[in-house]
């Protein structure tokens, strides 16, 4: 097995880095993939719980009264577009010579994340107002364990992104920033996939 084939990274240009750094990148990214698999189990169990508790309404309100499909659709558009802009950021990390487009794409991603989070919090508040807080029924408990956990992930990932931008201004686009952006990319796209499942199962499935 040749070293060149082991050390290739689809998402990053590490050709200029010393060999040890490339080996480290391999290890770190693989580790992060494994973490994401583990995180997927968390979401999987919560999805299972939601599906089981879907009928445990205890006489309380259900999806028809509580969900706002328009808002959920806007959230979906925002999050899917943010995956696209993050992809553009990854491309400019790989091919770009200037830092400016990279930062701009990241900022655009952050704006879209903020739109997503804003609409989502609005959804939650309106659910509370319509008489559907998590304490109302098992079904609502399951909803509020799953969907806000995804939102919490998006929030943490956004903070991570901001910190990476700050690191960029301190250290430039160094090895650690590159590796950070690569890992954050994995997380960001993973959260997108989770959202697609949430939108399909919870919102579309609930309102169907």
């Amino acid at each position: 097995m040749s070293i060149a084939t082991i050390l290739k990274h689809p998402g990053i240009n590490l050709d200029t880095e010393p060999r040890e750094d490339r080996v480290k990148a391999e290890e770190l990214l693989f580790g992060f993939w494994v973490f994401v698999m583990s995180d997927a189990v968390v979401f999987g169990v919560l999805f299972g719980t939601y599906i089981i508790m879907d009928h445990a309404r205890a006489g309380g309100p259900g999806p028809a009264e509580l969900y706002d499909i328009k808002s959920a659709f806007i959230e979906t558009l925002a999050l899917l577009s943010s995956s696209f802009t993050y992809g553009m950021a990854s491309l400019s990390l790989k091919y770009g010579t200037s830092r400016v487009p990279l930062v701009l794409w990241l900022c655009l991603t952050l704006v879209l994340a903020a739109v997503f989070l804003g609409f989502e919090s609005h959804d939650f508040i309106s659910m509370f107002q319509k008489g559907g807080p998590p304490t109302r029924s098992g079904y609502l408990s399951a909803f509020f364990a799953l969907v806000p956990l995804h939102g919490l992930h998006v929030t943490s990932a956004s903070i991570w992104m901001i910190m990476l931008i700050v690191q960029m201004t301190v250290y430039g686009v160094d090895r650690d920033v590159k590796l950070g952006l690569l890992r954050l990319g994995i997380l960001w796209h993973f959260l997108d996939i989770v959202w697609i499942a949430i939108f399909s199962v919870i919102y579309l499935g609930g309102l169907a």
Binding site: E20, E26, E27, F30, G31, V34, F35, M37, S38, D39, V41, V42, V45, L46, T49, I52, M53, A56, R57, A58, G60, P134, T135, R136, S137, G138, Y139, L140, S141, A142, F144, A145, I159, W160, M163, L164, Q167, V170, Y171, D174, D176, G180
Partner: protein
Amino acid sequence: MNGQAVLHFVFGRLGFHWLPFWDMLQEPTKAHIVNDSIATFAGALVLFGGALTFLLLTWYRAWGTLWSKWLTSVDHKRIGIMYIVVSFVMLARALIEAALMRGQQAFGYGGGFLSANHFGQLFSTHGTIMIFFMAMPFLTGVINFVMPQQIGARDVSFPVMNSVSLGLTTAGAALVMISLDIGKFSTGGWSGYPPYTEASFQPGVGPDYWIWAVSLSTVASMLTGINFAVTIYKRRAPGMTFFRMPLFTWTALCTSILMIFAMPPLTVATALLALDRYLGFHFFTNDLGGNMMNFANIFWLFGHPEVYILILPAFGVYSEVFSTFSGKTLYGYVSLVIATMSIAVMSFWVWLHHFFTMGQSADVNAVFGTATMLIGIPTGVKVYDWMLTMYRGRVRFTVPMIYALGFIILFVIGGVSGIILANPSVDYQVHNTLFLVAHFHNMLIPGLLFGMLAAYHFWFPKAFGFRLDERWGMAAAVCWILGFMLAFFPLYALGLLGYPRRSLGYFDPIYTPYMEVAFAGAGVILAAFTCLLIQLFVSVRRRREYAVPAGDPWDGRSLEWSLPAPPPEYNFSVLPRVTGRDAFTRQKEDGTAYRLPQKFADIEMPKNSAMGMIVCVGGFLMAFALVWHMWWLVALSALGLAGATIGRGFARDTEKIIPAHEVEREHRRWLEQVAAVRPVSRERENDSANVGLAAHPLMQAAE
């Protein structure tokens, strides 16, 4: 805000009435005096132990060394040793609790001396500690210490995360310990089934202690699993292909994979229970659509793989022990690997056998019962492989071998009782009785604990440079085996006689004789633990006599024995090239062991980091504050943890270089030592002539 409100804001639910001797002072009845005295003594023991450690460290001026060499160290060997220290401390407590419970039941005819609440706390902490704070840290410690050396690596993939995992585990252990001094622990057992652990039945702090202690440990184990798996996938030395890995490394890999996939369900289960208790959600409550069966399913989705997380590393240890002390290569290596992997995969589809009686249809039970029996097959394969490893070998009856032999016989008995329980119709008769308690102790003590104690004896000289005393070790092993049989075989009979598990006392004298034998067994087990302590003490005093600087006291077969004892921080001066299984035995046979490498290079190693300690302290404070509803402290420690994590992201200068000439000097010094000592034959393995250089068997024969 008035004074009361300020106090409540600062201290949350904390109050004097949570002290262990409060009831005794308020209402000095006999029951209160007995129970509170025991609880107070236990709490005082914790404080005394802490104070003694503090004083000793100050007296020997060891704080600086402790901080720089241990607490902030990211060396996998030191982290492994610290894990094992934690697990020994917790083992001591949980053993005393076990003896107390056996005592209660021995005198349980008519009620015994403990209150139901106290007894409930005892079996809950005993189980929680033994699983999460004895077994898990022990095996994590052993894997941490051994696995990187076996695959020819210098450290694990993520050394700082390794230290963070240790910090989280220790914080959880500390939380269980502090619950002796303030507040009461859960009485809901180690599995914490709701709705009994919900706020409506246990409004106090008990289940909260359980939730946060277990959560800390779970996150730690998940991170550890990632760390070990990535290390094994990415850090193997050149030539160390998968099918050349020592079997212990294989079991470590399977355990890690199980940790990655089985820990998240437990995180979810405890988190959902916490949401129920803290925010009034309705996951597992009796009303408004709560569904406790969901907890049972999620919990055992973790719980069953957990059983194999615990047992697989022990299987790995036994494989090394049988092979080394029989002087033979492991019989049926490939079948052992396949068996290990099969067990790991199958462990995910049998969880339902933990609740056959909870209302599924007979068909579902039959499927899971059959699946459970199937797991017996790969385990059986292993037992035959181990026996055939000994067959026609020159078996040496050393301490690890005694544990291993005890294990084989007792584990098969326990396994057979498991096959009985796997039959749902039988399970209906004996479920929730002491038969079950006997069964799983029969798997976990001879299986896991003997394995870990064998590992402790086996690798101790590698870690500290001197062997453990063989005579006291033998006494301990024999006491463990006899004590286990006395303490748990009567429980099978008691279970068949219908004695329910976790019950305080009884009104039928037929149980008494069995209970008394079991109590005597608990006494023998305490003697076994005492022997281990004496052994450690004696060995440390005779460390010069038992020293094995050359590093290979048992004529070992895998790469860790090719290193000095203790190994340098970077393990390997030059990364080894592996040409086959039993890598070190090959080196010894073809004469390439103990050679001076032609060329040394600079070695890059991670610098020390305080991250582990910050997470330990922050995690403990946050969990403690959550238990006691001190919200300001929750926020503060959460901010601290987040700040530390973000700050770590800004750290750049995290590696240090150990220059080649230093590595070469160390290596030459060790080779001079090796050249100066006489190789020892296996007959003299246990006397002071054994300084860690094994004579070649052919040379032995010539002599």
